[in-house]
Symmetry: C2
Subunit: 456 residues, 2 copies
């Protein structure tokens, strides 16, 4: 059996940056590495082409009556820039203390190695393990999984598993296991306002027309109430209040407002009434401005009234909002408030449906929940408690992972998500690292989970 | 006597761009050209150094009892960029139709040539002309006349004239002379808001804190009333209502709102009640946003809550506002409205005091107006009416020329400003040109004005 840390080092040395075609050798190297590793533990591996980067599908097929787990991961990584801020080489994995440094160590090469190692160990102990396993490892997660839904549709017949099992999500401290049970959705758009047909001199023409920057300020200022809610009629209509068990789980995480404020560097939270900051992130939708532009932004002064001003907006969505059921509500309110004297263009960008999966035996568990999914949750609860010394906490997160809704929509499958990366792992940033203690516990937990699922 | 058009061509061929040290030969060339030209018509010329570009002081001194006119101009020009948009070479003057094209033809080489030619012709006809004349021609007007006030203070004893006479201002059509009798002042500043100590992921942290972009929108939206006035208590306190004669003069200009709206490309003006757009530009102060920045401004989406957001603001000021008497009013209101959850920094930038000069015999002419200044206004009214076929119109303008307040403050002198450039002359833009018909009328008018002022 291989050493997971040595194998992770080998894996990280392939610079598999999906966003930049300069790294195509790194992408191919990571594919070949995975093909070799998975073949070595007895899998049939296929590299399935897509419009851009292929998906690796690795199967261990036995009796059709055995449970069938689909393990999701991705082999692509974020670009390593800015290179100057790395203390080690991003593609030369380096162990310092209890961490391994390198691009992709935490997102997602280390966590995927956790599951491959667990599977390898189990199959070494019991080559007849009564469990069908399919690895689906994509190469475009860091660029929005653009071709993944098409891949799923085309390969649906080969992905007839019972549920998804994966670790592309986080924990809060190295000693508390977290199971992610939901992610917010998103709708992203850009608003562009046009006033005069050209940039104007603010001395020659100032004071006679609606300045598009002023119009933008007035429009944007109208989109929140003073207490921090989104000021759009109907925006909250589909929002489901969190169940008491969800708030209770969050309390168990023991998050401290003071610590969070210190981390953010703010003196004051700005959270809608009735929600702590930790609840607001997880249970409430948002409308956040991501960028303003217009006019002169260089040094000093330029006396210009710009022709155009624009802002980028993302709304995070929560169940049962969807990009489709809130889009018109948002866009209509914004159009209605377009200040007189300017014209408006709204451009839709990215979108993602919010995702939630309810563990078994909760107040809101669906009556028709898949028994295999419930088994996996129960196995994870038991294994996690044994290995980590206390039961996992079940939390929704504030970010968005659109592929979960795709998996649900195309394959009809829910996901059990075991968190493995820490806030200090610096995902998408210089000096990314993965905690070796968490890696070890992850492998042990995953091995126990998969052993428990195996039923002849 | 020289041919003014040939001399203007020679002058324009010196690329005297003050903003860019690459053009230092052009600056020196323009200085030498003027020295030669003015020496040739009998002036004593001195090139007076400053911290950057020298000022040319050329004197014709006779009897100390003669009137003494100081003619202001500047020999520096704007950079010619973007070069690709010129239809002729910017520093190779070219006559097409009734215009001469080239950088600086209108701003300010052509208008200065008008006055030099008028002086030259007068002195040729009457070498004993009883008039003291000083040309003060600076080289930093296009970069804010930074060293001009220091120059004035150091050379005050040599600039003991009766008034300033100049043409660095505009007319509206080639057949109507305009005398500029005021310019707005300015106070420019930048507001920077800081929220969290670093940029944040809007999924992980969205909905718990005041986004600096939102704070900027709320702050900026508070600074105007819906009817277009500046919403800062006390902002209008020092503003003097225009006299009926000023509104009447403006009406005589025959400006059409529809034409102006079409020029701007807007469907609707946004002017404070009681003022036409043409009045608002000239008689009211403003607060205009010149630029917003913060967050992501590139293509597509970036889910960021920025740490900082900022905006650039210029307020145009009118008599009797000054940068000093409105600064605290503006800054205090803005500071008071800083949204909770962000901190604010205000950085002062450029400033200029508004300038106004009242012609003689008006309802608000100062009782102690200099008789020499009144004589010049009267001479210009008479000469302008004769040459242009109708009386000049007296208008304030919306822009700011800080050096007028400096001349007034340091020398105690007011300025008589004969407009010579047209809206279509493309000042500061590619394909700058000067109208030869206006040039001819300007020379004739100026010659008559100076002749009328000469009193033994």
């Amino acid at each position: 059996m291989f050493d997971p840390i040595e194998k992770l080092k080998e894996y990280v040395r392939h610079p598999s940056v999906s966003a930049d075609s300069k790294f195509k050798d790194g992408m191919a190297g990571a594919q070949q590495f995975l093909t070799g590793l998975l073949t070595g533990i007895g899998f049939n591996v296929e590299v399935v082409p897509t419009a851009l980067h292929p998906v690796i599908v690795a199967k261990r097929e036995g009796n059709a009556n055995w449970p069938h787990v689909i393990i999701y991961g991705h082999y692509d990584v974020q670009p390593p820039d800015p290179l100057g801020q790395w203390q080690t080489q991003p593609f030369e994995p380096t162990i310092k203390g209890e961490r391994i440094y390198g691009r992709g160590t935490a997102d997602n090469k280390g966590p995927l190695m956790v599951h491959i190692t667990a599977v390898g160990r189990l199959l070494e102990k019991n080559p007849q393990l009564p469990l069908n396993i399919t690895f689906v490892i994509e190469g475009e997660e860091e660029i929005g999984s653009k071709n993944f839904k098409t891949f799923l549709k085309a390969n649906k017949h080969r992905l007839n598993g019972d549920f998804i099992y994966m670790s592309d999500n986080g924990i809060l401290t190295p000693d508390q296991m977290i199971v992610t049970v939901g992610l917010r959705g998103m709708i992203a758009f850009e608003i562009e306002l046009t006033g005069p047909k050209m940039d104007l001199h603010s001395g020659m023409h100032g004071g006679v027309l609606m300045n598009p920057l002023q119009a933008l300020a007035e429009l944007c200022a109208s989109l929140h109430t003073p207490d921090g809610r989104v000021n759009i009629p109907g925006f909250y209509k589909q929002v489901i209040e969190p169940e008491p068990w969800e708030r209770a789980q969050l309390k168990k995480a023991g998050l401290k407002k003071d610590d969070y404020a210190k981390f953010l560097g703010i003196s004051k939270f700005h959270t809608p009434p009735g929600y702590t900051p930790f609840e607001a992130i997880r249970f409430l939708p948002t409308l956040e401005f991501n960028g303003f532009s217009g006019g002169y932004q260089g040094e000093g002064t330029k006396t210009v009234i710009p022709s155009k001003a624009s802002c980028k907006v993302t709304c995070r969505l929560v169940p049962n909002q969807t990009p489709d059921n809130v889009k018109d509500v948002i866009f209509n309110a914004i159009k209605k408030r377009c200040p007189k004297g300017v014209t408006m263009k709204i451009t839709e960008q990215h979108k993602a449906t919010p995702y939630v999966v309810i563990p078994p035996d909760r107040s809101n568990t669906p009556k028709n929940q898949s028994p295999a999914l419930a088994d996996c949750f129960r196995a994870l609860e038991k294994a996690g408690t044994e290995v980590w010394g206390k039961p996992p906490i079940y939390l929704r997160e504030g970010g968005s992972v659109g592929l979960l809704a795709d998996l649900k929509e195309v394959l009809g499958l829910d996901a059990v998500m075991m968190g493995l990366f820490l806030p200090e792992d610096n995902l998408h940033a210089p000096n990314e690292s993965f905690h070796l203690g968490v890696m070890k516990k992850g492998i042990e937990t995953s091995e126990r989970v998969l052993a428990a699922l195996a039923k002849g």
